[in-house]
Amino acid sequence: MDEASDWRRIAALSDLRENEPLAATLGDDPIALHKVDGVVYAIGDVCTHEFARLSAGFVEDGMIECPLHQATFDIRTGQCLSPPATADLPVYEVRIDGDVVYVRARSE
């Protein structure tokens, strides 16, 4: 990967397990890698309600449930599905190259 590009190397694909989120950081942002039905997703890892690392929560049927107050989010889209959170999670592009998982840092 070219240094100038905004793709960041985050993890080894072989370290990812189905339905077991892996907490990581992208620059200063806490993110989590999720593997659901063989597909890897990268989404923001902080609940939009109060501070909680979502990767410490519970994965069920493609959703992540916050470990504290039960807000749920769609892992594929970052969409907030149930309260007390109301805002969606950021979603990041993922690229797999061999055993390496790259995530695209957002360019804002």
Partner: protein
């Protein structure tokens, strides 16, 4: 509010004998005693005649005699003698509760006796299993039972409350924690890898270098917590399931609500190494007891504040994951019990 459809620990087996013991459980006064053959019995602790606690009376053979006017009750709670009166009214009886002696504890069923199933008693076999050395004890807690459950489901407090025994900073700052849940169970698994052993582990395990330490908390409702805890020298494979050259212990906890703001805390500590060494058992016990007495102070101070501020707002942090899952399960069961009881009426 209490959960009713559970076996609770009422007493240590050594507390219950031929001298009646009064103990309040789920807000109800109970008197516990043993028949001449050793069978434990529990009654409501109130004479059907003029309400004196029967625990103030005495046993005459297998009958409990009230201290006030001498009414005697048999093991089924039926009055069998009224001094100076031949006829005994059928209403002269006291409520009895199913009791079972197991794991050196006396267990009591506080709900409908017709559905008491002794196979539902929570497993605490470590307390009387010959493959383990163990000692158990009792603490009275001036706090709601759920504060004790919360304490045992979030062991980050060891780093602060129990620095002199079972805690050190590694536990809060260098731990890998995983919470899993089922409809009636929460498990919190914490691994602290390649960190110094806390003081108690150095004393009883003789560790001279860093350890891999685990705490695997198994909670089942309402308030039974069985902790698989221990450590092995770093890198010897404990995280992969090979526990060698280390120590494994069980910290065992059964909390019985006394009132909404007080609790009976039955606990024990078991170890799977040098199991016949009673002085080791005692040494381990004393270390843990030191820590638990520190907890008991925390509980009563929390309760005092909760008595002042009714249901104050509170902040949840990441370490509360297990606590919050268990509280939700308790809330669900409480609602189920209430709707079942409303339907029955």
């Amino acid at each position: 509010m209490f959960l009713r459809n559970y076996w609770y620990v009422a007493a240590s087996n050594s507390e219950v004998g031929r001298k009646p013991l009064r103990r309040t459980i789920l807000g109800e006064p109970i008197v516990l005693f043993r028949l001449e053959d050793g069978t434990p019995v529990a009654f409501e602790d109130r004479c059907a005649h003029r309400h004196l606690p029967l625990s103030m009376g005495k046993l005459v053979g297998d009958e409990l005699q009230c201290h006030y006017h001498g009414l005697r009750y048999d093991q089924n709670g039926r009055c069998v003698r009224i001094p100076g009166q031949e006829q005994i009214p059928p209403t002269a009886k006291v409520r009895t509760y199913p009791v079972v002696e197991r794991y050196k504890w006396i267990w009591i069923w506080m709900a409908d006796p017709a559905v008491a199933d002794r196979s539902n008693i929570a497993d605490f076999h470590w307390l009387d299993d010959p493959n383990w050395g163990a000692k158990s004890s009792y603490l009275h807690v001036k706090a709601n039972w759920q504060l004790v459950v919360d304490n045992l489901l979030d062991l980050t407090h060891l780093a602060f409350v129990h620095e002199s025994t079972i805690g050190n900073s590694a536990l809060a700052e260098h731990a890998n924690v995983k919470v899993t849940r089922a409809p009636n169970n929460v498990a919190v698994t914490r691994w602290i890898i390649d960190q110094p052993a806390p003081p108690t582990f150095v004393k009883v395990g003789g560790f001279t270098s860093n350890v891999d330490r685990w705490q695997i908390i198994d909670w089942v409702p309402p308030a039974f917590l069985r902790l698989d805890v221990g450590a092995t020298p770093t890198g010897t494979g404990a995280p992969e399931g090979r526990r060698v050259n280390g120590i494994t212990m069980r910290n065992l906890n059964a909390i019985t609500p006394e009132t909404e703001t007080t609790s009976h805390y039955f606990w024990g500590q078991a170890h799977d190494f040098d199991v016949k060494n009673t002085s080791l058992t005692q040494k381990i016990f004393e270390q843990i007891q030191t820590a638990f007495l520190e907890d008991v102070e925390v509980f009563s101070a929390q309760q005092q504040n909760l008595d002042i501020y009714s249901d104050p707002p509170q902040v949840d942090i990441n370490a509360d994951t297990g606590v919050l899952q268990a509280r939700r399960i308790i809330d669900r069961i409480r609602a189920e019990e209430q709707s079942a009881s409303a339907a029955a009426q």
